[in-house]
Symmetry: C2
Subunit: 308 residues, 2 copies
């Protein structure tokens, strides 16, 4: 009897392992071999400032940065919307925005302010931090605001290929993430989620369904990297890139007066940081790393096609 | 009988003329002689862009530009509000804003958008032109919006010394001007009005009362002046300045990437225009013209003290 149970369990384990092995990876669902190294090179924060827009458009022109997302509440939205209309094949998503983190340059909701009062601080702008934003946010008002952002983007001729969340506010808790997913599914758009995040937020695997489309991992630089090590950090990470889909999240701008004014007293993700990102990701060194390591660029548009 | 009437009329005319002569000018009400040449050097559009803020703060530091007004709905409000808090004696008013005239950089109402729907275009921003804004504006909604701008400014620690109207929207018709005056009187703040405008807008003298405080004339440059004639235009106008109170309205910024992006395809009041204003009004040549022509700088704060 005991042996029968053990044998049955062994067969069951084998069957499950086989089923899991047969489950297609995102790379395979995209038509690539399981061991392909696929990369999305993604600029965040489009629309935030003229400096960001000009740097991002320059980077897109090289073909080495091939994706980006737009902050609808920000002052320079119209400029990047004109780019989107003129470049309908550009892989542009929306960087859904519920925070206004710089102290000199601020923005607030697209929805009528009195209908999303849980999203704004005493000065009428979004909260400065994602933790404050999440702590105050009424999920119904979040849904209204992010729908308003999507609607304004579409009205300006932007056809978003994906959605993500500025400063990760929509990943701060399960309730907000559920609103995010609900809106994304209603729009049939993929959202930025990485399988590698599952261990640090239980609600992600609990909330996602088999059909949802997401990347295997996200690569981003951090304040611990010294400015002189910027190129080496990215090159090293790319040389050891694992198979599957990786999104490298970068922040592009010039280290100019506007950007210095916006990010003053805030070197992390500041003006010089963004110019370093711009320099590496438009460089021949980056192009060479991609070639030598057989890394293929893909877009959120490609991922979105997997959504039924 | 005829002679008696003629004599009576002559006496009446003399009495009226004497009364008018005895009516104090604004200069006299300020304690200056009737023939004093008084000048407010006023930078518009503070808060619109970092470039405008930095240029204006630099100009204020010279003492040669001594007044300015702030656009509350604009993205860089917080930066200039910090300046206002740090410099409580600065002569800063509000440049009440109902238009969003640049196509790449836009802004909209401070009041909840659905309560001021007559003020916004299909993209949710203020209209591009003052004529479109005035044609659509519901005066009740204008009152709500400009009160919201004043309240946000005060909440940020700005104590405005005067009010004016970006692109002159609030002077477009009598109804709008009445709203403007009503709000200004409720706040006990002077508004930008020039006696020299009376001939071109009947509703101005009809609406203003004896107690209202306004300047005698406004001086501003126009697109007909060639860039190389900039300094000469201003110098010539100042050399022939008439007695009384003149406000010279200028637009300060740097001819930098941000400002070029904001004003692209729009050389009038564009980036290079604003840098030319900055250069002249912070120059020794301007200081010399003031001295040689006995022109004394006064502020809107001085004028505001005349309001009971």
């Amino acid at each position: 009897m005991k042996r029968t149970i053990v044998t049955a369990l062994a067969i069951l384990t084998l069957a499950l392992t086989t089923a899991r092995a047969q489950e297609k990876t995102i790379a395979e669902r995209l038509g690539y071999p399981r061991d392909a190294k696929l990369l999305i090179v993604h600029g965040d924060d489009l629309g935030m400032a003229h400096s960001v827009n000009v740097a991002s458009m320059k980077a897109f022109a090289t073909g080495l940065v091939n994706s980006g997302s737009i902050m609808v509440p920000c002052p320079w939205l119209s400029e990047i919307a004109a780019y989107a209309r003129a470049n309908p094949q550009a892989d542009l998503g929306l960087h859904l925005t519920l925070t206004s983190e710089w102290t000199n340059l601020r923005w607030g909701p697209v929805a009528p302010r009195d209908r999303v009062s849980s999203l704004i601080d005493k000065d009428g702008y979004f909260y400065l931090t994602e933790t404050d934003a999440a702590a105050h946010a009424d999920p119904k008002q979040v849904e209204m605001e992010i729908m308003a952002q999507i609607e304004r983007a579409r009205a300006l001729g932007i056809q978003p290929t994906h959605l993500d969340s500025h400063m990760g506010t929509l990943y701060q808790n399960k309730e907000l993430f559920e609103v995010f997913l609900k809106v994304a599914r209603s729009q049939k758009l993929p959202v930025r989620v990485a399988r590698s995040w599952f261990t640090r937020a239980d609600f992600l695997p609990e909330t996602l369904k088999q059909d949802d489309v997401y990347v295997d991992r996200v690569l981003d630089i951090n304040p611990g990297v010294a400015p002189e090590d910027w190129a080496r950090f990215y090159s090293d990470e790319l040389k050891k890139l694992e198979p599957g889909v990786t999104e490298v999240i970068i922040h592009l701008a010039y280290d100019d007066s506007e950007m210095q004014g916006a990010t003053s007293n805030h070197p992390n993700w500041g003006a010089a940081w963004r110019q370093r990102d711009l320099e590496f990701f438009t460089s021949e060194a980056f192009r060479k790393v991609l070639q030598e390591n057989q890394i293929k660029l893909i877009t959120w548009r490609d991922l979105g096609k997997l959504i039924k």
